[in-house]
């Protein structure tokens, strides 16, 4: 063995040293990358995997495009615009898919193109199921984009890994699309029916299941169809009442025509139960089921709750609630930093200037946070309204008897939808609770004692700086800060409360949900609904009249008992519209003989001698006697006292009038015997009168229905000329009106 020279040995040692250094530095850099760089990148949400779902193929294509991605996307975007102009929707869809895949972390294309598909493209189609497809397509796209930005991956949830905040705007837009395109579009009834179909296993709604061979060939199998209606009463009733699919055959045809809608289920072999699609591919598309309150897309039965029926608003609510998930906790909620506090606490906290950790929370980009937070509660109210609009009030449900009219009535119960999940009042109660919770969490719900205490505290500052009760005030001067600082903060706290209440319309919603939760209100709605249906179908106009006549006093009680509710303009408008329709379309035609006699009698009073002309008129002439357009109904003449303290005054009056028969009590409310003897609406009917509409209002009194709301409805129905100021005519040659500068 030849010994290496010292020079060679040195060289070898140096090489070994270098090698060791390389290995060490490499290992160190790996460790540094793993534990420092990646941890920091994770923390700052810089890695793609920490933003949400990662699409490997999308990432691969982006890498292959290297620096030309911008060029490719621009070209695709331009082509997409071109395709849209040319109505080449499927190609547009493909292009949009490519654009969003190439630019997955740019939020605007997801938002814009999903809106484009759901609103612009869908509306181009005439067939509802095509519209529905593109609405769904837009929502699928947005949901996909949301998943890319959701801040977690599905597998991370199971492992309990750290989650990052997602994008609230995208989640909110999902809810908005449900609201505007399925729950509130021109074709909302049919869209909601299609949504119901999407949620039902296609095997269960296959049209041939509901057909059988009878004596006259193929006919609907009523027993199976009734079973279907029992399972999906809202769908069948909507078809019947709103879309005029009144016969079983029409319902079966509808199921057949719309069998192929976007669905939650995979296409199954005939006769076999369908399998659920992956939750991300389903339509209706839903968020990851973080809460039991939300419909669960991983379950075959979407809504397992007993107290709520499946509804488009339920899905919208799931998205709106999901949108709240990564917002900073509401200031007055239990989750707020520093724990639960009430509006009087911590007056130093500036409500207008929200501070939060941007790595843990996100806020909506454009919308006020308070309005944004109100959406889940709003959907509770929408849900109740929808039930009421469809005619689900209580355990009475809906009868299928008209399907069986030709057949011998079977002994079985033909009513469907009597379960609690369809009861309007319970839905309103939930809405009321949701609004109260929202109000408490966000410092909007202020009890009178709190308000008084804050007012007292603020009074000092208001007096000093001559600030009105409401309105933003200047900060106290530095030298006054010690004396007036607390008072100023109390004033500003009240101002913030008022401001946020007004931008969210909070008070109106609270009053509405409270009033609607009362059984009496539900009954009043039900009576009107039934009367309207009897009139609409022409089944029994006389019974419709009777129901209206029962409903009006009940409505007067409801309104007087809930004066804040009664003062809501939309409540007044809705009621007045119903009343006008009742007067003009039902009452007057039904009582035309009597009315014509009265009107001709009035006409004759101006002539002497008064001959019995009416009896001599031919029927054609009698029919020409016009209806009275300016008729006043039972609600129009009601006036009531409405000053601060009106409620106490009414109570005192009632007590005073009943005290004669009762031993005098000095404490507590009205004596129990008095209460038991009272008619339920008696207290609210104190200081109330029914007069001719034109009679002047005494000071402190108000009409049950305001003049302005009446005028609006009459204008809308074409019963009154428009009160809007006329547009001035521009003389020819006159200079154009000045355009305001930006």
């Amino acid at each position: 063995m030849v010994m290496a020279t010292p020079l060679q040995q040195q060289l070898r040692q140096r090489k070994l040293l270098y090698l060791g250094l390389i290995v060490a530095l490499f290992t160190l850099s790996l460790l540094h990358r793993r534990f420092v760089v990646e941890a920091a990148a994770d923390e700052l949400q810089l890695r793609e995997v920490s933003r949400g779902e990662v699409d490997l193929s999308s990432a691969a294509v982006r890498l292959t495009l290297t620096g030309s991605r911008g060029l490719a996307v621009t070209f695709l975007w331009s082509s997409a615009c071109d395709m849209q102009e040319r109505n080449e929707w499927n190609e547009l869809d493909l292009l949009i898919t490519s654009i969003t895949r190439l630019q997955p972390h740019f939020i605007t294309p997801w938002l814009f193109q999903s809106w484009n598909l759901s609103f612009n493209v869908a509306v181009e189609f005439d067939r509802p199921r095509d519209k529905y497809f593109y609405i769904g397509r837009g929502m699928q796209l947005l949901a996909q984009g949301e998943r890319v930005h959701q801040g977690f991956r599905e597998e991370d949830v199971a492992r309990g890994k750290q989650m990052f905040p997602g994008n609230p705007d995208m989640r909110h837009h999902m809810g908005i699309t449900y609201l505007r395109k399925i729950a509130g579009s021109d074709e909302k009834e049919i869209m909601q029916c299609l949504l119901d179909l999407s949620c039902i296993d296609p095997v269960q709604r296959e049209a041939r299941r509901f057909k059988r061979t009878g004596l006259r060939g193929e006919e609907p199998d009523l027993a199976k169809l009734a079973e279907f209606a029992r399972n999906y009463p809202r769908l069948v009733r909507r078809l019947n009442d709103k879309l005029e699919y009144t016969s079983p055959l029409q319902v079966v045809n509808f199921l057949e025509e719309n069998f192929d809608v976007p669905s939650r289920f995979k296409r199954a072999e005939s006769g076999r139960e369908s399998e659920l699609k992956d939750w991300k591919e389903q339509f209706p598309v839903l968020p990851f089921p973080f809460s039991d309150e939300w419909p669960n897309p991983k379950s075959a039965i979407l809504n397992t709750r007993d107290d709520e029926s499946l509804d488009v608003f339920l899905m919208a609510r799931a998205w709106f609630s999901y949108a709240q998930r990564d917002l900073p906790p509401p200031l007055f909620s239990r989750r707020a930093p520093g724990g639960l506090r009430n509006l009087e606490d911590d007056l130093d906290m500036d409500i207008f200037d929200l501070k939060f950790d941007r790595l843990k929370h996100r806020i909506p980009r454009y919308m006020s946070l308070y309005v944004f937070r109100s959406y889940p509660a709003r959907t509770y109210a929408y849900m109740a309204e929808n039930l009421s609009d469809e005619g689900w009030f209580d355990e009475e449900g809906w009868s299928l008897r008209h399907w069986f009219e030709r057949q011998q009535a079977s002994g079985e119960d033909l009513r469907v939808g009597g379960e609690a999940r369809y009861h309007t009042r319970l839905a309103w109660e939930r809405a009321q609770r949701a609004y109260e919770q929202y109000g408490r969490d966000n410092g909007l719900l202020l009890d009178p004692d709190q308000r008084r205490r804050l007012d007292d505290k603020a009074e000092k500052y208001r007096t000093k700086y001559k600030i009105a009760h409401v309105g933003i005030g200047q900060e106290p001067r530095r030298e006054d800060m010690a004396e007036y600082g607390e008072s100023y903060k109390a004033h500003m706290r009240l101002h913030a409360n008022l401001y946020f209440r007004s931008i969210t319309n909070f008070d109106d919603f609270v009053h509405q949900t409270k009033a609607e939760s009362a059984p009496q209100t539900t009954l009043a709605h039900k009576l009107l609904f039934k009367a309207r249906e009897l009139y609409r179908t022409g089944a029994d106009p006389e019974m419709a009249l009777t129901l209206y006549e029962v409903a009006w006093p009940l409505w007067i009680d409801v309104l007087l008992q809930n004066p804040e509710y009664a003062q809501l303009s939309h409540v007044q408008e809705d009621l007045y519209e119903v009343e006008v329709r009742y007067l003009l379309r039902l009452l007057q035609p039904q009582r035309s003989a009597e009315l014509q006699k009265i009107l001709s009698g009035f006409a004759q009073t101006s002539v002497w001698p008064q001959l019995p002309l009416y009896e001599r008129l031919p029927q054609a002439e009698k029919d020409r006697i016009a209806r009275v357009r300016n008729a006043w109904g039972p609600l129009d003449g009601i006036q009531y006292y409405d000053r601060p303290g009106a409620a106490e005054l009414k109570e005192a009056l009632l007590l005073w009038s009943h005290l004669a028969g009762e031993p005098l009590r000095t404490t507590g409310g009205p004596p129990a015997t008095i209460v038991s003897l009272m008619y339920p609406g008696q207290l609210s009917r104190q200081l109330t009168r029914s007069v001719h509409r034109g009679e002047p209002l005494p000071s402190g009194w108000r009409n049950l229905l305001d003049d302005m709301n009446i005028q609006l409805v009459r204008e809308r129905l074409g019963l009154a000329p428009s009160s809007a100021p006329p547009v001035p005519e521009v003389p020819e040659g006159a200079p154009p009106p000045p355009v305001p500068r930006r």
Partner: protein, 659 residues
């Protein structure tokens, strides 16, 4: 989007072939004349322009003679322009009309000049084709090209298509049932076209320059081989490889595509309709050639509405399709399907779930379309009378139904009209009605017995009319239609055959790119050839836009005006203020457009070879009109001058030249 083939440009007709040939002769001839001019100048400067050389052989005499004719014709043509400025009334009408059907003196001169220049230019390669070229050598060179391509593993690129099959769902994750086949076709075309175009351009652009650079070309040119044979051999060899690859990939794509197709897509697209298409005009609208404009950006369709209830005496608007001829066996095997896909533009919400109701009428072509509605009124009354009588006479349901059918046939024969009322129409979906065969048979029989006499303009009236109107109940809705939105379905062919016909379109593009790249590579280096090819083909995707730019038809003005608008933030619909700047911009734009017009014919019309819409929408691609006339002939027409150029550049290139 739906089974109406949207073709904005009318397909070429055989009758227009001479005019197209004339245009081509003029364009190619100009290029040839330019080439001759350059060659002549070069020869002149080198002192080669001697009488002895020019007239030494019959060949050179022929070339010189043709060139001389061309020069004379061009000079005469150019002389027309100053004359037309001096005496506009006399000479302006003699100027070239460029595309008009009637030939002016200028057109004749231009065509003769172009043709003569072409003759002068193509004579040498043409004579070489018969005297020097040997097909055996070309075949051997082609085989060599194939071997080279195989050895260079270029065919592995085709395997990349497998990736597309793997990731196709990436593009089509969520499809409306009817669009499934369309989307598959779109994705396959999107993937196949660039794949093959890149392969063709790389093969074409780099093969000859690489051989030159590596000097391996000397192993060929030192053999008794004509240089142009190398070009032809490469073209055929690479063309063969690409054709086989295209067929293989297309076959696999077809298998991939026809798996588990949605029934509605099958009905919509998995077929090859052979439509009979009429000419569309309008009746009782403001203009005969179009209906109302609803303000859509894309003005492809015209709209009609129902009769306005406030104007009950106003005439009913109709869309009228004139069918000059129909196949003689139409209706021989049962009722004829009339298919249509319209666009609906709603002015009111209408009823939920209900479409727009229309009336479809057929009328004898000898009638004036305005007479058809009156004739139909008469028929309605008579039908009512006959049906009432039948109801009284007959009791059995089947007998009555048969009698009703007989009544319809009788009425058709007597009055020559037929209608279907209250037909519910939806948009973006193919709908159809079965029209009685008796009507079509009656029209054909009548035409055979008593041929249609020519009208005042010498044109025969159409065989039949198809008329569509919007019913009174849907009067507030507008229905939009274009010529190809309604057709009589003559026959259905196999989808697979049609799919391969569509691939022929793609093949044309591939060959165009290959030929172009090879022609460029005869003179330019590999990279420059490749970039030139990509540039020309890339701009070919926007020929429509470039043509409008060159002709000054773009809204908002030319490139410089648009640039000005961007910076001054004035939208293109707004007029610009009349200033000196605008005048300068307009002048610059005009100069720019003039130059662009000179080069516009160099740009290949690549979009015409894209036949995916036929395949995706389920329409047959006809061999004659679409494949031959609209694809193969334009391809030859475009490549021919390039190959002639290639012949000369290859010939005069310094590769082992004897001198």
């Amino acid at each position: 989007m739906f089974a109406a083939n949207i073709i904005e440009r009318e397909l070429p007709q055989w009758s227009a072939f001479p005019a197209a040939l004339r245009d081509w002769t003029q364009s190619a001839g100009t290029v040839a004349a330019l080439g001759l001019l350059i060659w002549g100048l070069a020869q002149f400067l080198q002192g080669n322009f001697t009488r002895r050389r020019l007239l030494s052989t019959p060949r050179s005499l022929w070339v010189f003679g043709s060139a001389l004719v061309s020069v004379v014709a061009f000079v005469a043509l150019l002389a027309l322009f100053p004359l037309s400025w001096m005496l506009p009334r006399t000479f302006q009408k003699l100027l070239p009309s460029l595309g008009a059907t009637e030939m002016t003196l200028g057109d004749w001169l231009y065509t003769v000049a172009g043709a003569a220049a072409l003759v002068a230019v193509i004579t040498p390669p043409f004579l070489d084709l018969f005297t020097s070229f040997r097909w055996g050598r070309i075949w051997a060179l082609a085989r060599l090209a194939v071997k080279e391509a195989v050895r260079s593993r270029v065919i592995y690129i085709f395997a990349a298509m497998a990736l597309v099959f793997l990731f196709a769902d990436w593009f089509v994750p969520y499809t409306r049932g009817e669009d499934q086949v369309r989307n598959y076709i779109r994705v396959i075309y999107w993937s196949m076209t660039p794949l093959f175009l890149m392969t063709a351009s790389l093969l074409g652009a780099f093969s000859i320059p690489t051989d030159v650079r590596n000097q391996s070309i000397h192993t060929i040119v030192t053999k008794p081989v004509e240089k142009f044979e190398i070009l032809l051999g490469r073209f055929l060899g690479y063309g063969f490889i690409l054709t086989v690859g295209l067929l293989l990939v297309a076959g696999l794509s077809l298998i991939y595509m026809t798996r588990s197709i949605h029934p509605s897509a099958q009905e919509e697209s998995l077929r090859a309709r052979r439509p009979v298409i009429g000419m569309l005009s309008f009746l009782n609208t403001r203009h005969r050639e179009k209906g109302d404009d609803v303000g859509r950006v894309w003005g492809y369709r015209s709209y009609i509405t129902g009769r306005n209830p406030t104007q009950p005496d106003a005439p009913q608007p109709y869309a009228v399709w004139a069918f000059d001829d129909i196949p003689s066996d139409l209706g021989a095997h049962g009722d004829v399907r009339l298919e249509y896909t319209f666009d609906i533009f709603r002015l009111t919400k209408g009823e939920q779930g209900k479409g727009v109701f229309c009336t479809f009428a057929l009328g004898d072509g000898r009638l004036n379309p305005a007479e058809v509605p009156d004739r139909l009124k008469l028929v309605r009354k008579e039908r009512e009378r006959l049906q009432t009588q039948a109801r009284q006479d007959l009791a059995g349901r089947s007998e009555l139904a048969q009698r009703f059918r007989d009544i319809e046939v009788e009425l058709i024969k007597t009055h020559g009209v037929y209608e279907e009322r209250g037909v519910e129409v939806h948009d973006f979906v193919t709908q159809g009605r079965h029209m009685p065969a008796a009507f079509f048979r009656h029209m054909l029989e009548r035409d055979a017995e008593e041929p249609r006499p020519p009208g005042a303009a010498g044109k025969r009236p159409p065989l039949l009319w198809a008329m569509v109107s919007v019913d009174f109940g849907s009067h507030s809705q507008l229905v939009g239609m274009a010529r190809r939105d309604l057709y009589l379905l003559a026959d259905d062919d196999f989808f697979a055959v049609n799919f391969f016909k569509g691939v022929i379109g793609m093949w044309c593009t591939v060959m165009l790119v290959l030929g172009l790249a090879l022609a460029c590579s005869t003179y330019l280096s590999g990279v420059i050839s490749w970039l030139t090819t990509l540039f020309l083909v890339g701009t070919g995707l926007f020929t429509d836009y470039i043509t409008r730019l060159a002709e000054g038809r773009l809204p908002g003005g030319g490139a410089f005006q648009s640039f000005h608008r961007i910076f001054t933030r004035i939208q293109h619909s707004a007029p610009l203020e009349e200033t000196a700047t605008l005048n300068i911009l307009q002048t610059v734009d005009e100069v720019y457009a003039w130059f662009l017009r000179r080069f516009i014919n160099l740009i290949p019309d690549v979009t015409r070879h894209d036949l995916h819409k036929y395949v995706g929408n389920g329409f047959d691609i006809s061999w004659g009109q679409v494949i031959l006339l609209d694809n193969i002939i334009p391809l030859i027409g475009y490549l021919f001058p390039w190959f002639v150029l290639g012949y000369y550049t290859m010939k005069y290139r310094e590769i082992a030249n004897p001198s």
